[in-house]
């Protein structure tokens, strides 16, 4: 297996290419600009299409069109742009068209700043746009995962005919780490039967989210709900030193790396702490947390936000143990000392 040193954004792009994605539509925004720049070079070489749209609204609707033809399609943006994409994401989810959307989060609200953040957790895991829908959400925490989870994102999108979101942050995109790349073989992916490509002798097909009859719309919503239920089996997470942990920290993405370091230090000091890192944010590893709640004495959720994932942790723990929260914003990461202090405080309760 070939191991190469790569930037996070490049690994994500290579992961998409390896998964057979040949179409990208996007609009510039910091901190994800390196990704489109890389694909602008690589996609034409691979016989694909890179298009800079007039806006994120334009881009996501081009995704709807291109993905409706049965191809693997990628778009990427950050907070303000993802907000603009929400209308399209709702239509894509309602029309059951697979695609992959990358959100390299920055701080908000509003224009906020360009520093890393995790403040779009609610937006990503609750659907984000109008109507009852969910997107699968993956949260990579290393350059290798940016590569691997991007391929997984396309597979899951296809499997469920649903948009998948990759939720990262600027640190991850810029970071350089060794990556094991898959041997580059042309993946043979048949065009799915539902794709619109002209009738070509068959029956006319329709990609739509419009159901004017109340019964038909309810049936559609029930069908989507059954699909989201089935998606729960895709839950993925990592546990670190949780077997005997009295306090379980919960963090994802870059923050999980920082927390992991602090957990190691805490162990050296004799504190019985561990980490649960959700790899999928939707579906959320509620069952795994529930199991830990049977014996852990407390939970500490750490996020680069003022507290969003902590709601899901509380739902999973369901009152069986106290759940505390520590959050930073503006792109500021907590120091190990600060995290240790938070752990000690949580353990005192």
């Amino acid at each position: 297996m070939e191991k190469v040193l790569m930037k996070g954004n490049e690994a994500l792009a290579e992961g998409a290419l390896a998964a057979g994605c040949r179409y990208f539509f996007g609009y510039p925004i910091t901190p994800q600009n390196e990704l489109p720049a890389y694909l602008a070079k690589r996609l034409p070489q691979a016989g694909g299409v890179f298009l800079q749209a007039e806006s994120e609204i334009g881009a996501i609707n081009m995704v709807l069109g291109a993905a409706s033809t049965g191809q693997r399609v990628l778009t990427s943006s950050s907070g303000p742009g993802i907000s603009l994409k929400q209308e399209g994401i709702s239509y894509i989810a309602g029309s059951e068209v697979p695609c992959v959307i990358v959100n390299i989060m920055r701080g908000g609200p509003g224009l906020g700043g360009v520093q890393p953040s995790q403040a779009d957790y609610f937006q990503a895991t609750r659907g984000g746009g109008h109507g009852d829908y969910r997107t699968l959400v993956l949260a990579p925490a290393s350059v290798q995962e940016l590569y691997d989870l991007t391929a997984l994102a396309f597979d899951l999108a296809d499997k469920y005919r649903n948009p998948t979101m990759i939720l990262g942050d600027g640190v991850l995109g810029q970071m350089m780490e060794p990556v094991v790349l898959k041997p580059s073989e042309e993946i043979e992916r048949p065009i799915p039967g539902w794709a619109v490509r002209g009738k070509r002798g068959g029956k006319a097909k329709l990609i739509t989210s419009l159901y004017l009859e109340p019964e038909a719309l309810e049936e559609h919503n029930l069908k989507l709900a059954r699909k989201y239920e089935k998606m729960q089996q895709e839950v993925r997470w990592e546990e670190y030193l949780t077997e005997d942990a009295e306090l379980v920290l919960v963090a994802y993405g870059t923050m999980a790396r920082v927390v992991k370091g602090a957990v190691r230090r805490a162990r050296e000091k004799g504190l019985k702490v561990g980490l649960l890192r959700p790899i999928t944010l939707y579906p959320f590893p509620s069952e795994a947390l529930g199991k830990l709640a049977e014996r852990a004495r407390g939970f500490l959720c750490v996020e680069m936000s003022m507290g969003q994932m902590v709601d899901d942790v509380k739902l999973a723990v369901c009152g069986r143990a106290p759940v505390s929260f520590y959050g930073r914003a503006g792109g500021i990461f907590p120091t190990t000392a600060q995290l240790l202090a938070q752990m000690e405080k949580a353990m005192k309760h």
């Binding site: 334009g58 081009m62 191809q71 009738k199």
Partner: protein
Amino acid sequence: MKIASRPKCLTKEHFSYCPGCTHGIGTRLVAEALDELGLIEETVGVLSVGCSVMLYKFIDCDFIQAPHGRASAVAVGVKRALPEATVFAYQGDGDLAAIGTAEIVHAAARGDKITIFFLNNAIYGMTGGQMAPTTVEGQATTTTPEGRDPALQGYPIRMTEMLSTLDGVAYAARVALNSPRNVRQAKRAVRRAFEVQQEGLGFAIVEMLSTCPTNWGVKPTAALELIDKQMLPTYPLGEFKVPEGMKKVVTC
């Protein structure tokens, strides 16, 4: 001798348009052109949000339903991924000239090889007759009960002329659906707009002046006359851009 017949690709479904609405004529012209050019098997249509959202029931080809105003962006996505397909969108004037202005301008500027049918009835039909950006001066709507006053609501927008200034646009025409003569001309423009895409020449748009008897509050026949009286002074017919080497097909 056969004088007229139902286009093959027009389904047996009854139009959902109001009686006397010329959306029906626009729909039929698109179906006829797809038949005559033999394109129906390779066509992907994009539905806009408006009275034409049910078009997929009437024309027997593949369709994608787009969010309000985004039909041209969806069409761009299809065409970029599937260059061999014939891709068209059928948009109302609220859809194309208000909420979808950015999408249409940039599809045109990039010269995306798609065909756009722009039904201009100077009003929002589906939502019950509100002012559109194309509503003409003095025209009463539910949101301009005293008539559109340029001092308050600005002036009507001539999209097709504006778009024709862009280098990416290969074909831009305005026709009207209110008389046999105008419909014959419209038919030629609709065909031309598909031919331009087949030849890969660039973006093509045909604006069709259309009636909305229901929301204009007049009989269908009076509505046809209103196109001449009220719309033509603001919206002259003609071809504003024709690819080099192609003859004009609309005579004013």
